[in-house]
Amino acid sequence: MLMCCSQIYAQSSEMELSGTVLDAEKHEVLGGVSIVNVTTQKTIGLTTDKGAFNIKVNKGEKIRFSYIGFMDNIIIVDKENVTVLLQPSSNALKNDVVVVGYQTRTKETVTGAVSIISGKDLQDVPVANVEQLLQGKVAGMNVQNLTGAPGFSGSVSIRGISQLSISGSGDQAQLASNNPLLVIDNVPIDYDGGVTQSMLQPGAATGPLALIPPEDIQSIEVFKDAQAASLYGSRGANGVIVITTKQGNSPTPVINLNSSVFVNLPPQLRPTWGGNLERDYRLYSILNYSRDEQTVRELLDSYQFLTDSLNPFYNNSTDWQSYFYQTTVNTNHNVQISGGNPKLNYKTNLAYQLNQGVLKNTGFEKYSLNMQLNFMPTEKLRVGAQLFGALGQKQRGNGGGLTNNGAGDAFTSSLYPSPSHFIGIPRLEGYENNTDDNSTINLRAYLKVDYEIIHNLRLSSTTSYDYYTDTRDQFKQAFTNNNQTMMYGYIGRRDELNSRNGINYSYNTDPEDMSNGHNFYISAYNEANIRTNNIHIRDVRNGPSDFYWGPRGYSPRFYPGNHYNDANGVNDNGTHASMIYHALSWAGVFSYNYKTKYVADLSYRMDGNSDAGVNKRYSSNPAIGLRWNIEKEPWMQKMEWLDYGSLRATYGINNRSTATVLNTLGFYQIYADYNNQPAIGPDFSILPNPYLEPEKSYQFDVGGDVGILDGRITLSYDTYYKKSYNIVRDFYLPDITGYNKVQVNGGSLVNYGHELVLNFRPFVSKTLEGFQWSISLNGAMNHGILTGLPGDLTLYRQYDDTYHQDFILQVGRNPISNYLYQFNGVYQNTADVPVDPVTGKRARWQTGIQYFQAGDPIWKDVNGDYVISAGDDKFIVGNPDPIFTGGISNTFSYKNFSLNIYMSYLADRTLLNNAMAKRLFDLRYPGLDADDLMGNLYNLGLLDIWSVTNPGGTYPGIVDYYHSRGTASYLPDQTLFSEDGSYFKINQITLSYRFQGFRFMKKTGLHALSAYTTLYNVGIFSGYSGPNPETVSRLGRDDINGYPAALSFTVGLRAQF
């Protein structure tokens, strides 16, 4: 199957070999191809970005060229100049290189479930956060871009949720982090830059993925199963994402440029009725459905906006959303300078991006510099060093992490006059003038030294340091903030020192060809980790002026105003304000394969940390993996259509220590002195639990890979069963204990599912210029089931005080569900309403005095008492976690054009359309009263609403406001607003053209030049009634304040000098 172009035998003597490596199909040069001397088993070089190489070899030696996505080509050195063609791989397994537990190996000997994304798939679209580009690219990794706010992050989970803690309520309710561990160039990094960095709002953090430029990424590997992740220890419990950045590899310096201009366009906005439609509706509702004339008069007198339509001041139809949204033009630039040879190479990547949001006063600007130097003074010693620095500046407007308050505040009645020279609108003005800047500075450095003591026995040491400074400066003018200025300053400094030292030994009975003998690899290492976090917050209210920021001269009246910290310096969401953390790990790996046919991996890692209780310092993570490459069996050789076939099985246990000094030993607070003597007593927020066990999970994974018909079709399948148990839950205590809660083990849940990746090429042209089409398709199905709660509970109801949409954790169901009234349609006739035989009255809602009539919702009356009440008539329904996720990529190429269409999908997920519910529910007050009821009017024309003239309507009647106030027809906690959030999304369309053979290119020294245009966030197709089923909270609530995802249009150039 290997295609060798130059195979000429010759005598052995040292010589220089130079040449070019080309893609055999497209005839493009291939840079970064690794060159290995098979005879001496040494890496001797890499091709430049022009595809060139120049190496010293002996005649007659075997030289292997290999590159991700291409088949190896081994040549035997004969002449001095060769052109090497690499055939696109039909066997990605053999050649893809994977870094598992800091060890590089070919994919065909990897036993775990690993997905690889090439850096090439992440180009040509200038997103604010690389995370956005990972959506739909890995089967089983569910990435949701919950917000369109540039620089914010969405949610990512691998193989379902593994946490059960929900904090906050209503649209702001958030699930505890399920984030995987991130490893960038061998440095383990918290995915979101640490919990505290999020500044108390999930998604707000400018995490490492928002700072790294996609152009600098060589490859991303995602480890999904327990075996692959086990070597990363407890931190890898939710999976691991390993990112490798590019390296220098050209004897002459190469400059790569990628510049683009992109336009962000406002997306589809929320449907609204304005002007006369709004006025008429409200007036009609007041005039016809008030219960007495006095109410009508009072309402009309209060709302001149409604009645005085001839007054030009009130005669408006203001489209508020248009004042908040904007179209922005932005740029993205990336320069990479690299060069060197295997002995000494360097890379510098400089990136800049300006990404202004479609909501005013929001945006993200980032700068980064990544420098890398690799040095190999002798054959035995290798030294690598890297320095990465980045600055991310985010304007948050009026907003938070996943939501942006201003967007919701745009929902003011259209009858209000639009902003002008004479009329200031606090909400809008706040939007334009208030400051909320969030900047993150990240510095990361590592030094790696690797020394071969004796043949194949290596010592290695890696030390890395990662430092963040996060600041948030917020200033609100008094006019926009209830006549009270507000200044909020946040400074967080976080650093992590990580040191890994190890020894490894490999032994091959046939060093020339691994596929012909026994191969052993054994490694042991230890890792030490020190993390610190320091947070300082200043919060000053009621400054003397809108024109300078406090704290000078602030009014003491509202001091101390810092509600973010309580007396003990604890943030009000319970995270540590500041902390020091030490961790120490010991790991061992044994790996064996026979002829690369039978592979076995055994690994063990022990993790200890300073947070762990005194009794359980260490937790262990053992794992085993097996692999059988079937196509290497002699009896398979006859099946020529089969490129490869393999079976894999892994099992691993992951322990995550959750016991902390605080939850096992309790903590103490200072009380008011008694009799002038100091008093220190227990803090009653948590009862210590000295018996707390680590959270554990075990996972089985069975999978297989098949490639057939020379790479026409490849297929990879995995099925898994993952049980997380001992999950720590807050257990609320009776108040006679004195304490609020205790943390106990006992939550458990199971995730099982299937993942399939299918690649096929319907058109493979024989000629270089011909039409090529390849399709890559992946899909994952994940079922989560809650299998236990602490204290043998079978049900836990988490009360929600915003919309009464309680969360339910019920054993036997999907881990998190909603608790809602069941909406069964609308009463067509009053006669259809059941009548209580005891009282003779029709059914009603709770304490309401309005009895149901025609046009009211039919809610299921579970206990049959003719009263629909929250206590006993709600149902456990819905699942905010999707069952199916995946993506589809199509690549077409013809001559110098190539077109990529990238799509992703999600199916079977429940959303609650709170944005619609809130606006409809507010109509029970048709006037424009009280602060929170100044909303504008939903486009009622979109809904089939019951009315006397439309008795078949499927939505309850609304215009009779007095009645529907009494029956609460549109209360948000009913299944009327519970919808399926399945969607199909076109993420990206890229068309690119490669300039070739133009004269100006030679003149200007251009080696390569491409132009491309990209549409990103092209469209989303869904049956969901809101504008976008993706920009909702992690728990499936569509917040009216959500930041919409913007369509962006990019034009760019890629050049190489």
């Binding site: 020091i580 002195d673 009799n675 002038n676 008093a679 210590p688 609320y732």
Partner: protein
């Protein structure tokens, strides 16, 4: 070995933003601070509502003016929305958690102090601190029982299970056993006079035992004799300590005896402006006006108290024409001659122009103890002479007429009346009415209850809803279930 030790050391990091249990309980000083936290929590709760230290409005017999929350309280309408957060009157109805926090802190001290690894921490010092925790815990239960009737017993520092309410007699039995364990280890008096009466002592423990027994006698009538005997024994032990004496009544009484920490004080909650704590939850803030309380309300131009005792009640306590220093020293214009609210009750004085009082909350004092002993002896019978002597000790001090009536029920009644007088507004009258059953008697108590209501718990507070919600085994008092 050294290597492993250094690894373990590497993992020992002190949290920098919290004070964890790892760094606590290291030495005697920690234990002392922890015991202080028990007192501090007790102080916190007792200062959270005036109804804890002076429920003396509940029996009525006041002219309460326009104060709605007082009026419904004195009408025993404790579920009324008028009984609200104004003046913190709804506190006993809304939560009892701080009481149980205090119990939990005591539980923790009792279980942790023996384990403190500190050679310099003597067994004697440990025993004393543990005994103090036992005393505070028992006192909290006594408060809970008198407020709510049956309450859950929770004496294990780490138990998390729900427990139902235990009968009040049994709760107090447990507490008395506890106090008997504690008393021998408590000092008779503290060397440091600043600790006088504000920390647990032998005298305080025995006084609490005596009060508990007298309470039990009211609810466990079958064994009332036993309780009276126990009370008599306990009070004897206090007298035998020879620590306490009656202070003479004169003009300075408000700054000596009622300021607190006097030789008459047995147990008080420390309150001192110099220590930065003052009481605003004290009945006197409503019984005073200008010039003593310059910030008093504009009632009659600042010359009227918000609440004043009714003339009938005053006449019953202090019949006109009979001399009594308590009447002359404590009352200013008692009969409201200047305006309908011009009377002032001056037992407790503020320290400044604000309504800040730095009087200790006087819980038990020697005069009360002597009268309690007199009552126990009078009820037991056969000790009338001693009972009358004790009664006359109190009366003599107040320069009131000597009691020379008979023994038996007349003597019991006289002692009861004397307690009313002597302990006026010190938080005893309602509880004395309840335990003696006189709360059923309209002539003794304006807010009198019927026997049926009393048996259903009309004398209690409603169990806080938060307690019922957090523990399904807690049942509401029958009367308040209506």
């Amino acid at each position: 070995m050294g290597f492993m030790a250094s690894c373990t050391k590497f993992l020992e990091v002190k949290p920098i933003d919290k004070f964890s249990g790892e760094e606590f309980w290291r030495n005697q000083e920690d234990a002392e601070k922890a015991v202080n936290s028990c007192y501090a929590l007790l102080y916190q709760k007792m200062n959270a509502s005036p109804l804890y230290n002076s429920p003396d409005i509940r029996p009525g017999n006041w002219n309460l003016g326009v104060k709605k929350n007082f009026i419904v309280f004195a009408a025993n309408d404790l579920n009324s929305p008028d009984l609200n957060y104004q003046d913190a009157f709804a506190d006993p109805r809304s939560s009892w958690k701080t009481f149980y926090e205090c119990i939990a802190a005591c539980n923790l001290c009792i279980s942790r102090i023996p384990e403190v690894e500190d050679g310099a921490f003597s067994q004697e010092a440990r025993n004393t601190l543990i005994a103090e925790a036992r005393f505070v815990r028992s006192f909290v239960y006594f408060e809970l029982v008198r407020l709510y009737g049956d309450v859950p017993l929770h004496n294990d520092a780490y138990a998390t299970q729900n427990v139902p309410r235990t009968s009040q007699v049994q709760v107090l039995d447990t507490c008395i056993e506890d106090l008997k364990l504690a008393a021998p280890n408590l000092p008779a008096a503290y060397a440091d006079p600043t600790n006088r009466a504000v920390k647990a002592t032998k005298g305080a423990a025995y006084t609490l035992i005596a009060n508990m027994n007298m309470w039990q006698a009211g609810f466990d009538k079958a064994n009332e004799k036993k309780y009276w005997e126990n009370a008599a024994q306990a009070t004897k032990k206090v007298m035998d300590l020879n620590v306490y004496k009656l202070l003479p009544y004169d003009e300075t009484i408000s700054t000596t005896l009622f300021k607190g920490r006097s030789e008459e004080g047995i147990f008080e909650i420390s309150m001192n402006a110099n220590y930065g704590n003052t009481a605003t939850r004290i009945i006197a803030q409503w019984t005073l006006h200008r010039p003593i309380l310059p910030t008093s309300t504009t009632l009659y131009g600042g010359l009227g108290s918000e609440i004043v005792y009714t003339r009938e009640f005053l006449d019953k306590l202090f019949p006109p024409g009979q001399s009594d220093l308590r009447f002359t020293l404590w009352f200013d214009d008692p009969y409201c001659t200047l305006n309908p609210q011009s009377a002032m009750f001056k037992k407790f004085m503020p320290i400044d122009g604000e309504r800040n009082f730095d009087n200790n909350y006087i819980i038990f004092r020697y005069a009360g103890l002597l009268l309690l002993r007199a009552e126990a002896l009078a009820r037991l019978g056969g000790h009338d002479k001693e009972a009358i002597d004790l009664l006359n000790m109190i009366r003599d001090r107040a320069e009131a007429q000597t009691y020379n009536g008979s023994g038996g029920p007349a003597l019991v009644d006289a002692i009861f009346l004397e307690r009313e007088k002597e302990l006026l507004c010190e938080g005893h009258r309602w509880y004395d009415l309840v335990r003696t059953g006189k709360v059923l008697d309209a002539s003794e108590c304006e807010n009198h209850l019927t026997k049926a209501d009393f048996d259903q718990g009309a004398w209690t507070w409603p169990i806080p809803a938060s307690a019922i919600n957090s523990n399904p085994m807690i049942t509401q008092n029958l009367y308040w279930n209506k």
